[in-house]
């Protein structure tokens, strides 16, 4: 008697639950999806593209005993062997590349931490449509588009270390926080994020390149900062033409002098303001626009020291109009630019009086408003 009615109750409630939960309406707003049934387990591991031999050479120094160089690997070209078995070298369509194996268990750990800490903005599927990411500009990254802005690496895709440092440092002036999580957790999250890249692109694509951090070369201007700033100003407005997107911090007159343009040359309107630029990053089916910062006004996302600025300028901002400057101009000039920008930040940012004197001076004298 007792058993039967309990079973009956259970069946009745089960049926009720099934009947009603099968009928879920699909919401049009991707931000407002009701996350009632969230998968927390990843069942399959993933092979992810790893950085090149240089990266392994560095890791080998950091973790002695783990990586050994085998001259016979990669069909005789030589390569690194991981005694832990996480990294391996294999050939696909004639290309030899390093791959990293992220196990299902590790991705599950990463997935769970991702859901806990990241999904409110980046979305439960990593598509960038989290509830808290609504109306947010700049938008939270979608991990299905492989566009990472501030990674400071040499190629399109960042290495684990580069992503780690972004997450740990956060992006100033945005809701992306400096996360106080352990490296183990963060690296698991990173593997999960990488595994979200679509088949045949990003980390799953044999042809993509995973870059290592831009090396911070020796600053040639340490004792001659004044000259660096002058030189930086010339590069900024001259060879590198930064003023096309960022504000020009000179009058039209001065710009003509720096660029050695003939008298009467005109430049873009509102020269002392930044110009809105297209980006390759898509949200809700359209490419977003990105505002290049005014260094005397906006907060810098990726650090304000000269080394940070050097790396940022050198690597460019991926997916935006900011190109990779490493190789395009010399390291010495890159450092000069970094010093110039740093000087702008230190002298004028958050200092209303100094800034209005400086920018006002540029604006009254020229035709650039």
């Amino acid at each position: 008697m007792r058993g039967i009615s309990w079973q009956g109750l259970a069946v009745a409630f089960g049926a009720l639950g099934l009947l009603t939960s099968l009928q879920t309406s699909e919401d049009e707003n991707p931000h407002a999806r009701a996350p009632r049934d969230v998968s927390l387990v990843v069942t399959e591991g993933a092979w992810l593209r790893a950085p090149g031999a240089d990266w392994f050479a560095q890791r080998a120094k950091a973790e002695p005993g783990r990586f050994t160089h085998d001259a016979t690997a990669a069909g005789g070209a030589g390569g690194w062997v991981d005694s832990h078995g996480e990294y391996s070298l294999s050939e696909i369509e004639g290309e030899w590349a390093y791959w990293q194996w992220a196990s299902a268990e590790r991705l599950t750990d990463g997935r769970q931490d991702f859901v806990q800490f990241c999904s409110s903005c980046h979305g439960l599927n990593g598509d960038g449509y989290g509830r808290s990411g609504q109306h947010l500009r700049p938008t939270p990254r979608s991990f299905q588009q492989n566009k990472f802005k501030f990674t400071k690496v040499t190629a399109d895709l960042p290495s684990d270390e580069a992503l780690l440092s972004v997450i740990k440092r956060g992006l100033a002036g945005t809701p992306m926080l400096p996360w106080d999580l352990s490296d183990v957790q963060l690296l698991d999250i990173i593997q999960y994020i990488k595994s979200l890249s679509p088949e045949e692109s990003g980390w799953r694509d044999v042809y993509s390149q995973v870059g290592d951090a831009i090396e911070v070369t020796e600053d040639p201007w340490t004792d001659t900062k004044e000259r660096a700033i002058v030189r930086g100003r010339e590069i900024y407005h001259g060879a590198a033409s930064c003023h096309l997107c960022h504000p020009g911090y000179v009058t039209n007159e001065e710009l003509r002098v720096i660029r050695k343009d003939p008298e009467g040359t005109t430049y873009r309107e509102n020269l002392t303001y930044p110009a809105l630029k297209d980006s390759e990053y898509e949200v809700l089916g359209r490419a977003t626009k990105v505002m290049p910062p005014d260094f005397t006004w906006h907060q810098m996302r990726a650090g304000t020291t000269t080394a940070d600025l050097f790396q940022t300028i050198a690597s460019g901002i991926k997916g935006t109009a900011m190109p990779q400057w490493k190789g395009a101009i010399s390291d010495e000039d890159l450092w000069a630019l970094a010093h110039y920008v740093e000087n702008l930040i230190v002298s004028y940012k958050d200092q209303p009086a100094a800034r209005s004197a400086f920018m006002g001076g540029l604006r009254v004298s020229g035709d650039n408003k």
């Binding site: 639950g17 009603t20 939960s21 879920t24 707003n29 407002a32 009701a34 996350p35 009632r36 969230v38 927390l40 387990v41 750990d109 769970q112 859901v115 806990q116 800490f117 999904s119 409110s120 439960l124 509830r131 609504q134 109306h135 106080d180 999580l181 352990s182 183990v184 957790q185």
Partner: protein, 574 residues
């Protein structure tokens, strides 16, 4: 059903110690259950304090075992889990069973001269519902994403799927629901027992105040636990079935949605009475213990009862003071402020009566007495700081800072805990037939008392300085960095407090099995429970006693110079 009907003494182990319907066994079950959970909750508190004093440093000793993935460091998610579960455990699984479950089951039948609770089976179910609730809560620690991380108040929308994915929060709601069901069952039982099973002569005004406290608590339990039960049902509907009771529509998109503030109202309609649910039994115990050990009648028995009744009624009408910054209308805010101020009057009457009971007494400073006096001190501190929180002008700044943490810990946690300790030390001889060590008991009191006051008084300072609660790391915000030394001081005191509890654990376990055999009435107290033999026989009273005087006839001149007390079953001479 009725306790007039006698079941034979059970013989199997299962019937005797596990699924027993004997109120004495159930009281012991509740006591052990509550003490174990108090220990678990206490360890959680220690871990929280460790993290606050040493942000990001691995927890010593147990850290590596508990959090192997982070190398012993408490991460923000774990931290949130810890403080949420600390609150839930201490309130629902620690104090409720130890205070109301154990004390109620032990004292009510024995002190009113009944053979058992009126519904013994319901009594057993009450314990096992709570056990199940505890089991569900414990299980939730091990599901993916871990137990709930949204604070014991569980405010939506953080507690809906908007802010908490995973099963932890759902299981938490179910656990709270089960524990609530247990409290309702217990409450119905207590009320009916007190109304129906008082022995002849035990009039309402001859009941010990402990029973009064428990009786009023039970009324609050029966009336207000269902409110949180319903709030939890709605929460589960929202989380599991996707309804939108608590999930609002966005301001920008318009549309019709639920209301997260609704939950806050429901929660505090329950939540404020819950404070009194925990404190009323402690008040009752304190009233009695002060009289017992000051060898004086409880001063103003009737006004004490009246004050407790008024508090019971008012407790339902003041809940809005938890929501002063939520955006209550001006009218509501001012009304709740006034009502909250009014509730201080009955509390003040109790203080007056307590202090008057002590005045010109003949104080035996035993351990139970020390704890009862400790409650006066601690509750005085907590109650008086309530004025800051009741006044909107100060509460706007102090809301959700450590000031509040200090305040409610002193009122509902420390006072209820001290009351529980006092009660345990007092009834232990009757319960287990052995005496607890007085020397260790006094050591336990003094080593708990000073750190405890220190912990929460430093919290008042941090709160006044504007340190918000539920922060993982107070050194990250520039404003809070200069206050870190206060956190360190709190942690040191908290650790001292934690260590002192081992004295109790040692004393309890040692006395339980190896203590001195207790005489029938070690305290010279006249209530009905001390008239029977130790250990208490099956069905307590061979014949139902007849009560002939009040519980507090101490030092009555008519007793003559040789004795200063009399059993309630005896007639006052002359």
């Amino acid at each position: 059903m009725s306790s007039d009907h006698i079941h034979p003494e059970p013989t199997t182990f299962l019937r005797k110690h596990v699924f027993s319907i004997d109120h004495k066994v159930i009281a012991k079950q509740f006591l052990w259950f509550g003490l174990i959970w108090l220990g678990i909750g206490g360890i959680m508190a220690m871990m929280l304090r460790w993290q606050l004093a040493n942000p990001g440093v691995p927890v010593p000793l147990i850290g590596g075992l508990l959090f192997p993935r982070t190398g012993g460091v408490i991460d923000p998610a774990t931290y949130n889990t810890l403080f949420t579960m600390h609150g839930t455990i201490m309130i629902f699984l620690g104090l409720t069973p130890a205070m109301i479950g154990a004390l109620g089951n032990w004292c009510i039948p024995l002190m009113i001269g009944a053979r058992d609770m009126i519904f013994p089976t319901l009594n057993m179910l009450s314990f096992w519902a709570m056990f199940l609730g505890g089991a569900v809560g414990f299980y939730s620690l091990f599901v993916p994403l871990g137990a709930t991380e949204v604070g014991w108040t569980g405010y939506p929308t953080l507690s809906t799927t908007v802010g908490a994915v995973g099963q932890g929060e759902t299981l938490w709601a179910i656990a709270v629901f089960l524990i609530g069901a247990s409290s309702i069952m217990g409450g119905i039982n207590y009320i009916t027992t007190v109304i129906r099973l008082r022995c002849p002569g035990m009039t309402w005004m001859r009941m010990p105040l402990t029973v009064w406290g428990l009786f009023l608590t039970s009324i609050l339990n029966v009336l207000f636990i269902p409110v949180i039960g319903s709030a939890m049902i709605i929460l589960v509907l929202d989380r599991v079935f996707g309804t939108s009771f608590y999930v609002p529509a966005s301001i920008m998109s318009g549309g019709t949605g639920g209301d997260p503030i609704l939950y806050q109202h429901l929660f505090w309609i329950f939540g404020h009475p819950e404070v009194y649910i925990l404190i009323l039994p402690a008040w009752g115990v304190v009233c009695d213990l002060l009289s017992f050990f000051a060898r004086k009648p409880a001063f103003g028995y009737r006004t004490s009862v009246g004050a407790m009744v008024v508090v019971t009624v008012l407790s339902a009408l003041v809940y809005g003071h938890h929501m002063f910054t939520t955006g209550l209308s001006a009218m509501l805010g001012e009304s709740f402020m006034l009502l909250t101020m009014i509730i201080s009057v009955p509390a003040e009457i109790l203080f007056f009566n307590w202090l008057h009971t002590l005045w010109k007494g003949s104080l035996r400073l035993t351990t139970p007495m020390l704890f009862a006096m400790g409650v006066i001190f601690v509750f005085g501190l907590g109650g008086l700081t309530g004025i800051y929180c009741a006044t909107i002008g100060t509460d706007i700044f102090l809301h959700d800072t450590y000031f509040i943490v200090g305040h409610f810990h002193l009122t509902m946690a420390a006072s209820a805990l001290f009351g529980t300790f006092g009660a345990i030390y007092f009834w232990f001889p009757k319960m287990f037939g052995r005496m607890m060590s007085e020397r260790l008991g006094k050591l336990h009191f003094w080593l708990s008392f000073f750190p405890l006051v220190l912990v929460f008084c430093i919290m008042f300072i941090s709160g006044y300085a504007g340190m918000p609660r539920r922060y993982y790391d107070h050194t990250s915000a520039e404003y809070l960095r200069p206050l870190q030394h206060l956190n360190v001081a709190t942690t040191v005191s908290a650790f001292l407090l934690g260590v002192a509890q081992f004295i109790f654990v040692f004393n309890f376990i040692k006395s339980r099995w190896w203590g001195k055999t207790a005489p029938q009435n070690p305290w010279d107290v006249g209530t009905v429970d001390w008239t029977i033999a130790t250990p208490v026989p099956h069905y307590n009273f061979k014949t139902i006693p007849v009560v002939r005087c009040g519980p507090h006839e101490f030092s009555n001149p008519v007793l003559g110079p040789d004795t200063d007390w009399i059993y309630q079953t005896e007639e006052l001479p002359g």
